[in-house]
Amino acid sequence: MSNNEFVNKGATKNSGEGRTLWEEIRRRFKKNKFAVVSMYFLIFLIALAIVTIVIDIVDNSNIYNNYVIKQNLKDKLREPEFGNPSMIFGCDEFGRSILFRMIWGTRYSLFIGLIAVTVSLITGGLIGSIAGYYGGKIDNTIMRFMDILLAIPYMLLAIAIVSALGPSLINLLISIAIPKIPSYARIVRASVMSIKDLEFIEAGKSAGASDIRTIFKYILPNAMAPVIVQATLGVADAIISISALSYLGLGVQPPLPEWGAMLSAAKTYIRDAWHITVIPGLGIMFTILALNIFGDGLRDALDPKLQH
């Protein structure tokens, strides 16, 4: 006696069959025009950075040497001229075209930012999920240690680390990644704790699922949504920190064309040449603006309860 007389009766939800979760998210994301535009802008920036690296390898960086590094003092502080392509942004204090330096500089901010965020995300995420899942004493000790790290203002910790280890790229990466670990740990912990008590976790346990399987196959995939959003906003934070450290002279060292370093060099010529301060700053701002809008769009798409 099969009971399929209940089967195939009544209307299913109108959103159609087999619409996977990712299609649903993409459909909602598409509706936010700003977010889509900023996503393409970010892809453009990443492509730019990769292209410059490929060019450096291919023609063993002679463009880099004579356009980005070589100084020609006759063009010192030359105003931006819209006619001449390489002079659109004008020249800096050593007569180097700001346009080229900006293009070659994208790789530093973007890639260091991405790597720093991944490092702090993975370490913070691991610590957070262990604290969130096991709770009790483990949770307390970990969270107290995180509170201590959070008690030191972020910028101070970054400056202290980078000055102790010296201003190489790797040390810059570490000095940005480590202070951000507590905030990721806290987000992942909150997300894991909210999921760990849901009934489908108990259902898994009642079928015999082990702790590892529960954490990695059930909890983490569901905990990813808030973490991804935080990661995009985290990259924005990292870029601001890199340029701030370079501005203080502790980050990327001249002559490397990092945007923050360009600003730092520009502050001495602030009276007579406004463009060498404004343009790199705009570069930083638009990148971070794009990341923030993209992050917001992602959060609205991933967060189902926002539907009116």
Binding site: E5, F6, K9, A11, Q307, H308
Partner: protein, 322 residues
């Protein structure tokens, strides 16, 4: 008996970017003076939307009252200005919401929340408000000394009593109760319903009791209206509806509840699912789940048919055999 409140062809839709939610589709309903009308329906049938429509508390941008009139003492509430409507709310018509846990402001003392409604509707001194607040707390069975406490210091049942005190503080003529006891335990539910019944007679208020529990309706209501997919499908006196229900959906509802007296072994449920308010079927909304569905049911939406002593049914089956 005269109608205290008469709703005529009320239509309420929610325009979301996924589509239009047709929550209430031209409902005509009257609430008699001093009587309790039970509004019975399942999730998504539009019960709460109807109640909020009467109070004009439909959430703006998306919610819109498309059409219809709500006549209260020969005044159409939908035509009133916001200021005039505010005088009605709490004074003439007040409302109790479903979940006591979230219906009280957590950062305001219980006494203030009761005093607020008294202050809004009558010009009396601070002393007078305090006295009235304590009176109300005592009538709902809460020691007036607890007026200075905050909602989180009360249990679910006690919170619901505070909410009832707020609603009845200005002795309204009509009390709308949206599933007042669904979130409570059986014994607490019995206490609260018993108290509401005695207060109703004491203040001579008429009541619109919204619920999905037919047992609560049987013990507390004088008239019953069954709502399905935003339409009233059957209306009548309590005994008419319980003793000889006519609409297939109502019959199905009675077949779905386990009955305490006779121990029937197998329930007779209604097949299929509730219709999705964003894509309601053509013709009678119940046709895809109805055992007696005829072709005409799939084409046209039936009219309300008046049977004996006010018993109305919205179904083609009734039309031909009067």
């Amino acid at each position: 008996m005269k109608d205290l409140l008469l709703i005529k062809d009320l239509v309420i839709h929610f325009e979301t970017d996924d589509g239009i939610v047709e929550a209430v589709n031209n409902i005509t309903l009257g609430i008699k003076e001093g009587q309790t009308l039970g509004l019975v329906g399942e999730t998504g049938a539009g019960k709460t939307t109807l109640a909020k429509g009467i109070m004009r508390l439909i959430h703006k941008p998306t919610g819109k009252i498309k059409d219809g009139e709500i006549l209260y003492k020969d005044k159409d509430l939908l035509k009133l200005t916001e200021k005039e409507m505010r005088e009605i709310r709490g004074k003439h018509i007040s409302m109790i919401f479903q979940d006591p846990m979230t219906s009280l402001n957590p950062v305001m003392t219980v006494g203030e929340q009761i005093g607020e409604v008294i202050k809004a509707h009558n010009r009396i001194s601070k002393k007078g408000i305090e006295k009235r607040t304590c009176e109300m707390l005592e009538t709902v069975g809460i020691p007036s000394g607890r007026a200075i406490e905050y909602p989180h210091q009360f249990s679910g049942g006690m919170k619901q009593r505070v909410i009832i005190a707020i609603a009845l503080a200005c002795e309204p003529n009509l009390l709308i109760a949206d599933e007042p006891t669904t979130a409570l335990d059986v014994t607490i539910q019995a206490q609260v319903l018993e108290m509401m019944k005695s207060l109703k007679t004491e203040f001579n208020t008429s009541m619109l009791l919204i619920t999905h529990d037919l047992g609560v309706v049987a013990q507390n209501c004088d008239f019953v209206a069954i709502i399905y997919a935003g339409e009233i499908v059957e209306y009548g006196e309590l005994r008419d509806i319980f003793k000889n229900p006519k609409h297939p959906y109502t019959i199905g509802l009675f077949g779905s509840i386990p009955n305490l007296n006779d121990n029937v072994k197998r329930l007779k449920p209604i097949d299929g699912l509730m219709p999705d308010p964003m894509s309601l079927p053509k013709g009678c909304k119940f046709n895809d789940r109805c055992k007696f569905a005829m072709d005409i049911c799939k084409e046209k939406n039936p009219e309300m048919v008046l049977l004996n002593n006010g018993h109305k049914v919205k179904c083609f089956l009734m039309q031909n055999n009067i």
